[in-house]
């Protein structure tokens, strides 16, 4: 526990860690999945695994939106970006995700008008400022981001902006968790529920995991202490034979979620019958597309979208890492062909991707002389 002193409250960290060591069943191998990429990041960055007993294994979940996007969808987006007259806009993370013919950044270097934005509203403003161009928003993210896209579309309708289009890649967390629970090669004992997605959807949507699958869920904050407390709550539930949804992050997450956010999403989006996820395959009812009432602003209606399917480069093992079957460093390309500077897979791009988080962690430790 040599890093404990770095934390804000080393005493509490130590106590929580001790308590976890005290309550675990030493003969059982625990596997907890942190669903959210933000948690993956914190776990690696703060070396939380070092504070846990060896028989608690943390499995990294599907909660990094660029990581679960299959390459074909990237290529579909980039084919829109190549259309004449288009300004293609995307968040920073997306700019470095490789498609078959390179990343958005590389495509931009070859002449496409691709711009980085920080908010969907930035893209809308660009459309208003460039009435002669067609501005396309590469929309991506879970329920944390989807309401922002929805409100931006409502704003576009209100202001009658006709040269703004959304290419929706929004995905839903609950169907992904369900797919993981139903997959045969998976043995997860409990879930560390995502903090910020839950501010939107609330705590109730996780009930089925506890009730129908008998697995405990604890919605967690992002501080090291939050995560340790959540893990302790999971272990305690198991020890007491309970499986419930508990909210460690109740200071931010209301049980009923954010009603205006859910309303905006519901007004603008409908659920796709199915959508492909990298590593997890097709999952039914797992993603959002624009409702027919918003077809005017739908990039998939306005532009030809092929629906290409691309298999990942052969040696890349992103799928296995996403399913928690392999740890990032067990991928053959990790740290060799695939690095944050030259990512082969999307898990190496975003700081929330398991491979990037793991890579930075390993390098930090090496820099510290270990």
């Amino acid at each position: 526990m040599k890093y404990v002193d770095e934390f804000r409250d080393p005493e509490l960290i130590r106590k929580t860690s001790d308590e976890i060591h005290r309550v675990v069943d030493p003969d059982y191998h625990y596997r907890f999945m942190e669903v959210c990429g933000g948690h993956t990041f914190s776990i690696f960055r703060f070396g939380l695994q070092n504070l846990l007993p060896a028989n608690i294994e943390l499995v990294h979940g599907p909660g990094c939106p660029v990581c679960v996007l299959p390459m074909g969808r990237m290529d579909d987006g980039l084919s829109i970006a190549r259309q004449p007259g288009v300004i293609f806009t995307a968040f920073g993370d997306v700019m470095r995700v490789p498609g078959r013919q390179g990343t958005p950044l590389e495509l931009r270097a070859r002449g496409a008008d691709i711009r980085m934005i920080y908010s969907p509203l930035d893209a809308l403003k660009m459309a208003i400022d460039h009435p002669d161009r067609q501005v396309v928003l590469f929309a991506i993210g879970f329920e944390t981001t989807a309401p922002s896209t929805a409100l931006t579309l409502l704003r576009a309708r209100e202001r009658n902006v006709s040269n703004f289009f959304v290419f929706s890649n929004h995905v839903l967390i609950i169907p992904a968790i369900r797919a993981i629970l139903d997959s045969p090669d998976m043995r997860i004992d409990g879930f560390i529920g995502p903090g910020h997605v839950s501010t939107v959807i609330g705590a109730h949507p996780y009930e089925f995991i506890a009730k129908n699958y008998g697995k405990p869920v604890v919605i967690s904050g992002f501080e090291p202490l939050d995560l340790l407390q959540s893990i302790l709550m999971l272990v305690k539930q198991m020890r007491e034979g309970r499986s419930e949804v508990e909210n460690q992050y109740s200071r931010v997450v209301p049980a009923q979620g954010n009603i205006p956010a859910l309303q905006a999403m519901n007004e603008v989006f409908e659920v796709r019958p199915f959508f492909e996820w990298r590593g997890l395959g097709f999952i039914s009812q797992s993603a959002l597309k624009l409702r027919p009432e918003f077809a005017r602003w739908d990039a998939e209606v306005r532009f030809p979208v092929e629906g290409v399917r691309v298999t990942d480069p052969k040696a890349a093992q992103c799928g296995e890492v996403l399913k928690g079957v392999l740890k990032p460093h067990q991928c053959k390309l990790f740290g060799k062909e695939c690095t944050p500077e030259h990512p082969v897979g999307a898990l190496m791009v975003s700081s929330e991707g398991a491979c990037a988080a793991y890579y930075h962690h390993v390098h930090l430790r090496q820099a510290a002389g270990e």
């Binding site: 770095e6 804000r8 959210c36 990429g37 933000g38 990041f41 914190s42 960055r45 703060f46 909660g63 990094c64 939106p65 660029v66 968040f91 920073g92 993370d93 980085m116 934005i117 920080y118 908010s119 969907p120 509203l121 930035d122 809308l124 403003k125 660009m126 208003i128 400022d129 991506i140 993210g141 879970f142 944390t144 981001t145 309401p147 922002s148 409100l151 704003r155 202001r159 910020h196 501010t199 939107v200 992002f222 501080e223 200071r251 931010v252 997450v253 209301p254 954010n258 009603i259 205006p260 956010a261 905006a264 975003s350 700081s351 929330e352």
Partner: protein, 94 residues
Amino acid sequence: MCLAIPGQIVELLDGDHHYAMVDVSGVRRKINIHLLKQEGAHLGDWVLIHVGFAMSKISEEQAAEQLRLLGMSGEADEAMQEVLGYQFGEGNKT
């Protein structure tokens, strides 16, 4: 991208409460506050901001915690860059 950054509301910009000016570590930026409709947004409130939208209200103490976390994890610069990036804040165009 899934980062959430705390800021404090220093000005409410329109009667419908669509927009507010927030202060994020000394930088003022316009954000959308529609999602706080139900809880109500007031001057001085601390909020978590994600891609230009306030997602939820938090206490001042939680805001400090979150800022500290961003600082500790080396994400503070990236977070500031995001806030500086919101372009829709200029004028009343959007």
